[in-house]
Amino acid sequence: MKQANTRSRVDGKWRAEASTQSPGLAIFLIIGAVASAITWEGLFFGHAMSDAGAQRPVIRTAMNADELGGGTEVSWDTIEIKQFHDYANKQGWEDTELIVTRFVGEDDTIKYIAGQIAGVSPDVIIASRDQISFFDAHGLIEPLDPYLEKWADYRDGKFDASMLDACRGREGKILGIPVYQNSPNVYAIRADWLKTLGLEAPETLEEAREVWRAFTFKDPDGNGKNDTCGYGVTMETRRGGHLYSLRPFMGAVRVTWYRIDDAGRYVPTFNTPEAAFVLDFIKSCVEEGLFGADVMVRPPGSVTRRFFAEDDLGMAGPFFVDWFANLANRYGMEDKVAFVPRLWKDTAARTANHYGTFTYLTRMRCLMRASPNKELAWRYLEYFFSQEWLSKYVSRRGLPFVRGRYLGQFGVFRAETPWRMVRHDVFPEVSLDENIVAMVRPLEQHLQHTPMMTHWSQVSVELAETFVDYYLGKYESAAEALDVAEIKFNRIVHGTEGDR
């Protein structure tokens, strides 16, 4: 289905553009009709209308309001507009106007579609991997490669190539730019419990199981009660949460969920004997009670809370060190917990250095194909990812919004510290502890990046349901559960049951 976007600009500089959009968007036209009734926060439509009389080129950005701070009379809009204008003046773009809009609520996708229908879509959006993948599948994203290649900063190698590679879509094009990458994931363990029980921190899965048994059954907190357990796992499936718990273990045996083949098709990669080994390992731990007797009925999102606040978990993960250090400090557990950087599958894997781990990127800024003047809109990205702006973004008190938080917290500022910036020449002012960095740095060689996939939120729920069903005895073997999971994957992604 080809749709002509008939938008035009009153200044006469911007021509109407045609955009090709896939049939999938038609479904969302229906949703959009409803969603367009949802209120976008004030400015969006307001600016769209007032813009009719404007003679200046305009760039519109849209981001989720949840990401922003509030509470003072200087809003993010004011700040970013002022910062952009300062930068634009230096670049000779002083006539360019920036309009910052916000989504309210979680579902950016529907609201974006509503905006498209209303003809007021933003030029640049800030969105999650799932959303970007969805937009990409519907032909809504403008690849950034040609714009980057024209930018001296990119040509001069100022950007982290591996991070940008993780932002490529199915056709291999860069769809968006993140600000930074979190650290590779690690585990946290109760160092004080290890000491009490005379144990060493585990290095392999089997050693971990032994430690978890001691944490569960040997009263490590010495209170005479059977109220501790070895490791924290969530069995929550509604948002695929269990897969997050499984991820470090699957990583340890280098199992990923899917890949993209040469034809651009998503291929499941998890149906392997190694994955079956992990499911069997988890099932046996569940049956031994090493994750706690209530593991199947525990509310979602409780692992971190239990580890830090309720004091009854011996080990937990996955954590990113930048976040973990903050939590440990807040809960006064700095000297009670330690990192376990990795759990090898076994000693043979350790000898062979066979391991896998993962990390996350921040939300990406993307250029939308429907933007009536993409060259102009690119200026926003050039501004945002300039060394000048990003340096302020990660400084202790450079950026106005950060300054507000800094002052609010009397300089006791414990924001997440970026592990690796998208630009090589930007250095976060608040650095991580050198010992932690030295411990985690070797994990980078094992990082596995997962491609973006539109259907992931749906697939992850189905996989999590299947695996939890296996622990509960619905399937005879892990292999059978993995077969079922693969069929579900193919049904969701391709509408078929695959080759099986």
Binding site: T72, E73, N329, D335, P400, G404, F410, V412
Partner: protein
């Protein structure tokens, strides 16, 4: 008629009190905004004005601490900052709580004296008076809540723990 007088007598002071709170908050937020937009000197003056005009409200006391913090953090005038934080403690000998009045994510809420103790500890540390510093930080950990959301207490606890570790393993 009597009812109107009674209702007016009750509602009017309540309305005036509410209006005064709103004004204090607006003035405080203006000072924060001024700091955010890089005018530190003006922000400090605005915080001092809020502290003077609303000394009976907790937000006035909080503004007093902000002004002292800017002297410590921006002007790097340790002696003046010490004087201001000590004066704060003299002006507020009883426990003074600042509780959230707006949906702010990042503003300090809790016992305000702890903030003054914390910076007196930092200033002592900066002067190289480790024992004095330790006394201030321990005072916070002894008196403060265990609420992990109170980052002044959390930070003081982390400092005390680090010092203890350093003593054990010099």
């Amino acid at each position: 008629m009597l009812a109107a007088v009674v209702i007016g007598g009750v509602l009017c002071p309540a309305w005036l009190t509410l209006r005064r709170h709103t004004r204090a908050l607006a003035a405080f937020n203006s000072a924060v905004a001024t700091y955010m937009m890089y005018d530190v000197g003006k922000a400090r003056q605005m915080f001092s004005d809020v502290a003077r005009d609303y000394e009976d409200l907790s937000i006035g006391a909080l503004a007093d601490l902000k002004a002292a913090f800017l002297v410590y953090d921006e002007q790097k005038d340790l002696d003046e900052a010490e004087r201001l934080f000590k004066r704060f403690l003299e002006d507020h000998p009883e426990t003074l709580l600042h509780l959230p009045e707006t949906p702010e994510n990042f503003e300090y809420h809790g016992e305000l004296q702890l903030v003054a103790w914390y910076f007196l500890g930092q200033i002592a540390e900066d002067h190289g008076h480790a024992e004095d510093a330790n006394r201030w930080f321990r005072r916070i950990t002894d008196a403060g809540s265990r609420n992990p959301a109170n980052y002044i207490v959390s930070e003081a606890r982390a400092i005390v723990a680090r010092k203890q570790r350093a003593e054990k393993h010099p």
